[in-house]
């Protein structure tokens, strides 16, 4: 009975793995390499890739700059407030992206105070690169906070105490001890956030259908021209995801 149970367990896990991998293999088998290569230089593909990469880079930078201090505070503070703050950080992670788009629109959309002021200043917050960045930051930055928090928690507090008792202040200790030791985890969080930003679809569709990011372009191509037209951008994104995976490992 022991080996029966093991066999069933491994079979279940194997099927799930197959479900993850087979479609990816199938994509590469389905897409004719010549046609895909040719369409990689099309304006729609290039524009979408540019928008996605610029926006994802900006939103990842924003998320990192604003998120790391928060992550460190969450990892080290001794108050009861940390639980509530952590919940606020995790909420955007479990919130459906379309709902994220809706709630953002109530603050930065047309006919809102902030949206009108920004548009008047020549920086519209919807249907613009700014809109893409806002959408991506909302859904992607929590990954930096949550992952970096875990990385900071993984740094033995005694090491920080040792540094302090050796006469080094908070900032020096963070720079020379905590950050270097937490670097792999922080990098993982930044990578996850970048990957999430590159793939953002739901909130972007609500905030900034134009300029089109790659996920939006896939949708548009699929609806207007069929599945085959979605392959080139999809393959680019698979490659980006695989690269992210390499960094994560």
């Amino acid at each position: 009975p022991r080996s029966d149970w093991l066999t069933v367990a491994l079979a279940l896990g194997g099927l799930l793995l197959l479900y993850y991998l087979a479609p990816l293999v199938s994509l590469f088998l389905s897409a004719p390499p010549g046609a895909v290569a040719a369409s990689l230089t099309e304006a729609t593909v290039v524009n979408a890739a540019t928008t996605s990469i610029v926006a994802a880079t900006l939103s990842t930078l924003l998320g990192t700059a604003f998120g790391l201090p928060l992550a460190y505070w969450l990892a080290r503070a001794d108050t009861r407030w940390t639980d509530a703050v952590l919940a606020a950080v995790v909420l955007p992670l479990v919130l459906p992206p379309t709902v994220g788009g809706v709630v953002l629109l109530t603050v930065v959309g047309p006919n809102t105070l902030l949206g009108d002021v920004a548009a008047a200043a020549g920086l519209p917050l919807t249907r613009s690169l700014a809109g893409v960045v806002l959408a991506q930051t909302f859904v992607a930055s929590p990954f930096v906070v949550v992952t970096a928090k875990a990385a900071f928690e993984g740094v033995d507090r005694a090491l920080e105490h040792a540094s302090r008792s050796l006469g080094k202040g908070r900032l020096t200790t963070a720079r020379r001890i905590t950050l270097p030791l937490a670097a792999p985890g922080v990098l993982a969080g930044v990578t996850l956030a970048f990957a999430r930003a590159m793939g953002e679809f739901g909130a972007t569709m609500m905030l900034a259908y134009y300029p089109r990011t790659m996920p939006v372009q896939i949708w548009v191509s699929f609806v207007s021209l069929g599945l085959d037209a979605a392959y080139p951008v999809a393959i680019v994104l698979v490659v980006v995801s695989a690269l992210a995976l390499l960094v994560l490992d």
């Binding site: 105490h161 040792a162 302090r164 050796l166």
Partner: protein, 332 residues
């Protein structure tokens, strides 16, 4: 004179656990803090180093108040139980982290005999090597007081003995207050000019090693410092009556007074008995400790624990009648 390290009513509460109020003055001497696990030893060091903030009380070092100051401004060096070396730096970089110059690093490396280890990462050091590097790192910052948190406890016996010997000499050469925390009576007596016994957050006795071991002021101190024979008894004409046995003790307490008698196993002598005079009993159990035997003697009332030399122990067997000579009975 307000030099040295002065703790006045230092207090810290964690839920139901309370440390202190602790009053302690450490001049340019070594005070070992001895107590069981969970008694608050590490918390006490954290309060002094400033990595934990006190709820109450005050702290001065060489006349300066340390209250409310951040750890980096206290001038208090801290050596951790496992070394707490920075794992991403080499031994040299660890020591140089707070050193005033490369010369100082080489100097300390020579003193602590770690020259050959300087290029290694902490993961490539043994436990004893890591502690030497940790010591050098702490001394490199030229602290005004030195705190050590059980630095020997995870080392194997031969290395522990050797490093303990060296610490003894090193402390002797330092002219700063040293507070050394341990749960090991031997480390406490070897290294401490004075011992402070800590129990559940409170200092139970402070004194020289001889005073604490020979004249414990409470049953807890007696038991924790290795005095295994602790008997409740009553003062009688010729000593103290315990169970059906009379321990020969000279005391000026009134006959009939209830007392607690303490007797270290090492102060008991056992001889083969051929009659019933004196403290005679039968060997219940004997245990080979290597450099001596631990013998438990059934006196008919209480059991008496004695540690005797190899030769004396080897000649005894379970059931053998023995006469115990007890000279150093201490009364609480």
């Amino acid at each position: 004179m307000t030099g040295g390290l002065r703790l006045d009513g230092l207090t810290k509460r964690y839920g139901r656990f309370e440390l202190g109020p602790v009053d302690l003055a450490v001049d340019d001497e070594v005070v070992t803090v001895l107590g069981p696990s969970g008694c608050g030893k590490t918390t006490l060091l954290s309060l002094i180093a400033g990595t934990v903030s006190a709820d109450d009380g005050s702290l001065t070092l060489d006349g300066r108040s340390l209250d409310g100051r951040p750890p980096e401004e206290r001038g208090v060096g801290l050596v951790f139980q496992d070394g707490a070396l920075f794992p991403h730096l080499t031994a040299r970089e660890n020591v140089a982290y707070a050193a005033t110059g490369e010369a100082r690093v080489d100097d300390l490396a020579a003193t602590l005999e770690i020259e050959d280890l300087l290029d290694r990462r902490p993961a490539a050091l043994s436990g004893g090597e890591a502690q030497r590097v940790a010591l050098a790192r702490t001394l490199a910052a030229d602290p005004d007081a030195l705190l050590l948190d059980e630095p020997l406890s995870s080392l194997d016996a031969p290395i522990r003995r050797r490093l303990r010997d060296e610490l003894h000499d090193l402390f002797g050469a330092l002219d700063v207050p040293v507070l050394y925390v341990t749960h090991d009576q031997r480390s406490a007596t070897v290294l401490g000019d004075r011992i402070a016994v800590l129990r559940e957050g409170a200092v139970e006795q402070v004194g020289t090693p001889d005073a604490v071991l020979d004249r414990p002021e409470s049953e807890f101190v007696a038991r924790f410092t290795g005095c295994e024979n602790v008997f409740e008894g009553t003062v009688v004409e010729d000593g103290v009556r315990v169970g059906g046995v009379t321990l020969p003790v000279a005391t000026d307490r009134a006959v009939g007074t209830a007392v607690t008698a303490c007797l270290r196993p090492s102060r008991v002598r056992l001889d083969p008995a051929d009659d019933d005079a004196g403290l005679v009993g039968a060997v219940r159990r004997r245990l080979n400790e290597g450099d001596g035997w631990r013998v438990i003697v059934d006196l008919g009332g209480p059991d008496l624990v004695a540690t005797v030399p190899p030769a004396a122990g080897r000649s005894l067997d379970a059931g053998d009648p023995v006469r115990a000579s007890v000279d150093d009975v201490h009364l609480l």
